[in-house]
Amino acid sequence: MNIDLTTEELAFRDEVRQFLAEKYPEEIRRKRLDGIPLEKDDMVLWQKVLNERGWFAVNWPVEYGGTGWTPIQKYLFAIELAEVNAPPIVAFGVKMVAPIIYTFGSAEQKQRFLPDILASNVWWCQGYSEPGSGSDLASLSMRADRRGDHYVVNGTKTWTTLGQYADWIFCLVRTSSDVARRQEGISFLLIDMKTPGVSVKPIITIEGGHEVNEVHFDDVSVPVDNLVGEEGKGWTYGKVLLQHERTNIAGVANSQYRLSRLKEKSAQSVHGGEPLINDRNFARKIAALEIELKALEYTELRTLASVAVGNAPGPESSYLKIRGTEVQQSLDALMMEAAGYFALPYIPSQYGLDFPVADRIGSGSETSTSLRYFNNRKASIYGGSNEIQKNIIAKHVLGL
């Protein structure tokens, strides 16, 4: 047992630091600092910067443009990105659909889709959930009926994150109802959002933002070439994807960054004539959270170490999802608590680009702490709710 990083790992970390010092775009840094929401162009710009260095598709196999990094390198990379408060990568293309395409797709599909994902030329979104099918995803009913060399798609996908920006959507669709297990009638289909019959309607979330949508499909014609792998195997492919999604969900590095900010903030905000951090109750909440986060960091490192010696990332990644989101949500709550009354003004417009930061009510981004708090209740709901994660652990780890 040894806690030190190797000289190669230290050198790697320096390389990442230097890259970020030189290449992290100033306008994005500024916006993040001021709490101004990023737009599509910002995210694409940052992903392109990463890709120019070959550091965008971190998890892909090297042959398709991945890094070939060790788990520790990936971990260090995430820490360094969080240190500069870099925005999270938009996962749908690079982390979600791409692994399905390079694992199960045809040579033609790899050619057609992977390079544009790598270059962030095409924006993807995820079409799994439906109004009637959330946790019980296998009940999904959006139909794709085969007509010669096309499928005709009818139905509704919902909760489609950032679907308003998307060029393509990857969907689980029902291609057959005439099967022994309902999972066997599900296929994995790639759909161009510009196809006639596709329409996107915003869903406004609790804090007033627009990040999710309902996507309607009305007699949408999709070439059979867009089916990934075999018809009826979509469920199996989707499960692989869910596992990818979960290993990225703990968000340890980002939570560490936010914990430091919380400590800074509570050293500044005043309570009873003293810095808030001197308040025993508050200090204890922060300390308990810091300990939980340290434990989570080492749980993740232990999982990475186990993956490094050849074990597949298994249902253990469900712990990371549960604990990771719990920590994030506790941080949200403490950030809001540290803001005091300034958590309450509801003035989203003061986070607009043209609103002078100095004229904001509350210092810095204080009034956004509550927006974040409310919005991020989603974290324990999406990506397989925390209850569903517990079901997975109960079944696959504990054998209950």
Partner: protein, 377 residues
Amino acid sequence: MDFSLSEEQSMLADSVAKFIDADYDFESRQQFASDKNGYSEAMWRTFAELGWTAVPFSEPDGGLDGGPIELMLMMEQFGRGLVVEPYLANIVLAGGTLRRNANDAQRTKWLQPLIEGELQSSLAFAEPQSRFEITDVATSARKDGDGYLLNGNKSFVLHGENAGMIVIPARTSGNQRDEHGITLFTMPGDADGLTRRGYATVDGLRAAELSLDNVRLPADCVLGEEGEGFPTLSSVIDEATLAVAAEAMGIMQKMHDKTVEYTKSRVQFGVPISSFQALQHRMVDTLMLCEQSRSLLYWCVMLVNAGDPQARKAISALKYQVGTAGIKVAQEAVQLHGGMGVTWDLDIAHYFKRMTAIDLMFGNADHHLDRFISTAA
């Protein structure tokens, strides 16, 4: 960053685990705990023969040069087996003090027999008023000719009644709660003026209240420098805190595992109770508490092993974690065993009691959360 064990470390962990499985079942444990001194003398001799009493000591002292990782590995297994033999009192606490401070003569007199399994000893880290503050030492040691006269009371001295030697922190100068002015003495168990009231503790171990009434100790009983005992005391207690945290890890894991097994076999309403989601999610929670605790344990032991300046803070994080998580896991285990969980005959009850004791040992969760806050990184 490497979580793997060396070959020697794996062998040590395996051999202790195998021994616990083969020779330390729960019935034997209960038998040992009911022996005169609260443990089995024969078992202790076996520990010595197996070399376990020598693990943390240096080769020149006749030890095996083990460090915190070896200590953790052994203590986790001792926790799993609910071992009652006084490894903590004798090897970690008294042995740890001697290892750090004893001069050659003291090594020959005390450390040798201790390593060979011939001496039981302890460390009196608490006083009736001190609660968890080890600096709170009211017991006084006054210069008297070429020796010292000791007066005061010591509380909760683990296995104190049958100890052949007890390390006594006593004040030679300063105020009652000063770090400076604490001197460590080796006091023979049969010293004149010493009264010991031994008792059983809820977790099946033994402890004693000591009262020292003009106990006269010669100058060669001083361990280390006069007045400078605190750094040693503090570092020994930190090591012991790590040790009981590792023990707690073994206990937690065992309770969680046994509970999962039990719910699969217990049938109510015509089905195994493990099929109830309300119980499944609680067992998932206890699993995660175990995993989170293990993660902190490894983090902490690696820092201690590296001599990292953060180690002290990490020990507090760990003790807070095992205190809160361990108690939760233990209470859930009892609950999910139903009425069986609160019977004397079932091991679960005794794991629960030991876990409860461990939370209090060397500062409970609250104490360590505050120490975590006040300790600079």
